[in-house]
Assembly symmetry: C2
Homo-oligomer: 157 residues x 2
């Protein structure tokens, strides 16, 4: 586990909430200099704790209103890596995990509508080695918050 102190955690907390918070603002809040914030962020970037930054976009407004989770059953687990490599070619699959339990592979897809989703699911079903899939359609995204983790956790640890 990476060595980061309480100040680093507080900096991360602020930046996870909003990447564009000026270092001068963070410095004021934490009673340190902007230079210090700069140096610490740079170190966390170098050590890989900070991997990058991304915009949070409203996909619904862009026409992507459909979210589903899809469990994938394989004929043999030895085909896992091959199937994963094929799944990577489908852009609308935004998350995929190799899992224990019911399914061999577990995916999340984001699509425009049910017609679009159907095409994606058929593409998954068509991959060699996939025996069948099971779809769970999201009726409501009730929680989606990476931020939850850090805020709380850093208090608990």
């Amino acid at each position: 586990m990476a060595r980061i102190d309480d100040i680093d955690k507080q900096i991360l907390d602020v930046l996870i909430e909003n990447t564009r918070t000026p270092f001068t603002d963070i410095a004021k809040r934490l009673n340190i200099s902007a230079g210090t914030v700069h140096v610490r962020v740079k170190k966390m970037e170098e050590s890989g704790i900070i991997k990058g930054s991304s915009l949070t976009v409203d996909y619904e407004q862009l026409g992507y209103t459909f979210i589903a989770y899809i469990g994938v059953f394989l004929e043999k687990t030895s085909q896992t890596q091959f199937v994963i490599s094929r799944i990577k070619e489908i852009p609308f699959v935004t998350v995929a995990h190799i899992t224990t339990g019911k399914f061999n592979i577990f995916c999340k897809i984001r699509a425009q509508d049910t017609t679009h989703a159907k095409k994606i699911i058929f593409m998954l079903d068509d991959i060699d080695g996939v025996s069948r899939t099971e779809t769970m359609i999201s009726l409501e995204e009730s929680i989606n918050d990476k931020k939850r983790l850090l805020h709380k956790v850093f208090q608990d640890l």
Copy 2:
């Protein structure tokens, strides 16, 4: 669906890749002025297409090596909102959806280890109205890329 043109999409593309890309850089790439980039970003913020920005953090390095998906079965679907509100109190649940299909609610958790995960799962099981849960442990996060969506999709549309 929001009205955004090709230039807006290209700006989003760059910023999704790296929120801190200077507007002057984006301007050069797209052969427009930095002022234009500024105005367009501001409009997309106002219209809500851009919801915010977040750091991408390496949770493994911070000691969170355990990811699992948990399907929740309810005694009655009328308890859904109550159960969701209780799940929101557990910080390690980073995603939750109300779903059709096998499960009533579907969660993603991130924990430090199996002991920590056990506590979270027991908390979920203990919520009034939850009849049982089914856990799928992630052995490997093979795909996790919101960027995939925009890049490709914008070409297809």
